[in-house]
């Protein structure tokens, strides 16, 4: 095996075209890694500056009415995971800025795709794009070329008679090019390590290790399939044509077909339908700003009974704050119902897409890569849910202060000292834990492993035939 590997290395190293292609690819990867990390860093700095500015404005708003502050709201930015520069995932299309306010749950906004023609049409140049589409293409051509040359030059008979086992020769070639693929992968991860040392905690290292294993598995699949077809088809063009077709089907058609099928089977409401349903359900709640609302009476009676007084004026608290929070709680239930359904449908779509990627290991790799990079749809939803939790606590703190901070009902001019606003905690987002990640990505891992095992036996079945 060592002899075969060394020989392949000599052949590649002395072929100017192979060398040129390999170096170009490595440079492209290093550059895309560098650009990805730089962009993520710059964006993070901008977001940190903007967050600090918003916080400063919040802290220095002076004394004010707490519910007024809830309407004033605040902005949050979805923090980039340390591997966003490796795989952009859905980040480019979902937006990273979210406005938090009372009464409303807003979605993220200002996505890059909505602001950049390049990003919306082609996606961003990230190492993952090169590693998922370009490196496999390179491996297909290289493995095809080396296996086919042995057959067509009839050198293979000479090799076998000299004592080379055909299966061993093919396996040696597969291992060599698989290693070459992992070198490309290593380059982009190395750039990641060298350029982003601050973010490299053990979790990130583990994610990088799993990324390495996932991509390595895919490269083994690509090299093995190409070698198998190149070794078994008599006509030169057939093996290459099939592999090119496989590459196009895996990379272009199947992801779109499964995506469309997932949307057909598990349909999401349109944005207008969704908003209309939310609005309708939301209208059944109390209107905290409308004292004439009939539903207020029942709440008022309950509070009056609790405080054993006859009118809201006699209450030691501010009834308006309670109404605001009641309205908020109702809104939260409506949100939970509609968004819960929405996320359930999205979850089913994801499960469908994962299951239907059994014939397409590239799709599993893409899903795994985005998941581990913290840029998949699930990570985005995780962020939105945690933001919503924070928003609820944030608004509740303000409403509670309005209700129980010392003001009386109807006293909309009441103000609290700015120290209260300063005491409010900032939002801090933690990426999904490794357990959560593994739980979500195991189907992708299982499919890739299944393919690796299948390819191993496929190669074992190779026999030389004249």
């Amino acid at each position: 095996m060592k002899t075969i590997l060394l020989n392949e290395w000599r052949i590649v190293a002395r072929n100017r075209w192979f060398l040129f292609l390999g170096i170009s690819l490595a440079a492209m990867l290093a550059l895309s890694s560098y650009l990805g990390i730089q962009e993520t860093k710059s964006l993070s700095i901008l977001e940190q500056e903007a967050s600090a500015h918003i916080r400063e404005q919040w802290d220095n708003q002076g004394a004010g009415n707490p519910h007024g502050a809830a309407h004033y709201g605040t902005y949050l930015f979805k923090p980039s995971s340390s591997l966003t520069g490796f795989d952009e995932g859905v980040n480019g299309v979902v937006g990273k800025t979210i406005y938090l306010e009372g009464h409303n749950q807003n979605d993220t906004q200002y996505s890059e795709a909505s602001q950049s023609v390049m990003a919306s049409r082609f996606g961003k140049l990230r190492p993952s794009l090169i590693l998922q589409l370009i490196v496999p293409l390179f491996l297909i051509f290289m493995v095809f070329s080396t296996v086919r040359q042995e057959r067509e030059s009839d050198r293979v008979r000479l090799l076998i008679i000299q004592g080379g086992d055909y299966q061993g020769i093919i396996s040696g070639k597969i291992i060599f090019y698989w290693l070459a693929g992992t070198v490309f992968l290593g380059i982009s991860l190395l750039v990641q390590v060298l350029m982003d040392t601050t973010a490299l905690d053990s979790g990130t290292f583990l994610r990088m290790l799993l990324l390495f294993l996932g991509y390595s598995a895919f490269y083994y699949i690509i090299c093995s399939l190409t070698a198998y077809l190149s070794a078994n088809f008599r006509k030169t063009g057939t093996a290459l044509s099939i592999m090119m077709a496989v590459w196009i089907i895996w990379g272009v058609f199947l992801p779109r077909i499964t995506g469309n099928l997932a949307e057909q089977f598990y349909e999401l409401p349109t944005r207008s339908e969704f908003s209309a349903q939310m609005k309708e359900d939301r209208s059944a709640g109390v209107d905290g700003h409308n004292a004439e609302d009939d539903k207020i009476e029942a709440i008022k009676d309950s509070v009056l009974r609790q405080y054993q007084v006859a009118s809201v004026e006699e209450l030691p608290i501010n009834f308006d704050g309670i109404l605001m929070q009641t309205d908020e709680d109702f809104g939260n239930k409506v949100w939970d119902k509609h968004f819960g359904n929405l996320y359930q449908v999205m979850d089913r779509q994801k499960t469908f897409a994962q299951a239907s990627s059994i014939p397409n290991p590239l799709q599993s790799l893409q899903s795994l890569s985005m998941g581990l990079s913290g840029t998949d749809q699930k990570s985005h939803i995780d962020f939105l849910l945690k933001v919503e939790d924070y928003r609820r606590q944030f608004i509740k703190s303000l409403n509670d202060k309005h209700a129980f901070g010392g003001s009386k009902t109807g006293d909309w001019e009441w103000e609290i000292d700015q120290d209260f606003f300063r005491s409010m905690q900032d939002f801090s987002y933690q990426n999904r834990s490794m357990d959560e990640l593994l739980g979500a990505t195991w189907p992708d891992v299982a499919i890739l492993l299944g393919w690796v095992v299948g390819c191993f036996f496929l190669i074992k079945s190779i026999r030389f035939q004249l």
């Binding site: 002899t3 020989n7 000599r10 052949i11 002395r14 072929n15 030059s153 009839d154 050198r155 008979r157 000479l158 090799l159 076998i160 008679i161 000299q162 004592g163 080379g164 086992d165 030389f464 004249l466």
Partner: protein, 242 residues
Amino acid sequence: MQHYCIYMISLQQVSKSFKENLALNSLSLELPEGEIFALLGPNGAGKTTTINLLLGFLKPDLGQILVKGVDPFRESSEARKSIAYIPENVNLYPHLSGVENLNYFSQLAGTNLSNTELERYLSDCGLQKGAFSKHTGSYSKGMRQKVGIAIAYAKKASVILMDEPASGLDPVASKELSQLIRKLADEGSTILMASHDLFRVKETAHRIGILYQGTLLQTIQADSVTANELEEIYLETVSQTL
């Protein structure tokens, strides 16, 4: 399993068909140690089929084949230890030098040779010293055939199978090749070569078998005839079967 056999190559009543085409018809042949046997015949006579059967790449439909007492199809790994093969075109790795090619093929055969040994084998096989470290992509066909023979020589194969080894070589290179083949036989290798070059076969082989449409029509001692006589015998034998 190695059978006791006084012949290095033994074919007994071997037949081979490809679908409806009978490629070999009950071929029997026995080659003792150190003999050079040439299978002479036109294209499609069954020469390459015979070599592929001996290499273990094909299974005979009928009959028995033994190479140094071992069935090359059933015990291919064992049989191939004593076989070397020189095809019509020795296709080496063009980006490797003659020395590197020889080294690689020798390593596959389980032999680790020093640089001096590698150069000596190449030199013994007539390759000029200046070509040792040049990429074989720049070699002529004759030079590549010499490296091919060096590969067989370095393997110390007791049986060497050659398929049209002199095809396309100029007269000088062709003569050098004949001398090399003789040298290998003198050192104990048994050589079976397939060719349709009457003159070269007469120069090189000890015995010549005329193979036509899968049948061995006649076997001739090479030193008992002149080249012209061989040509006459060949044409006469072949025409009788038409």
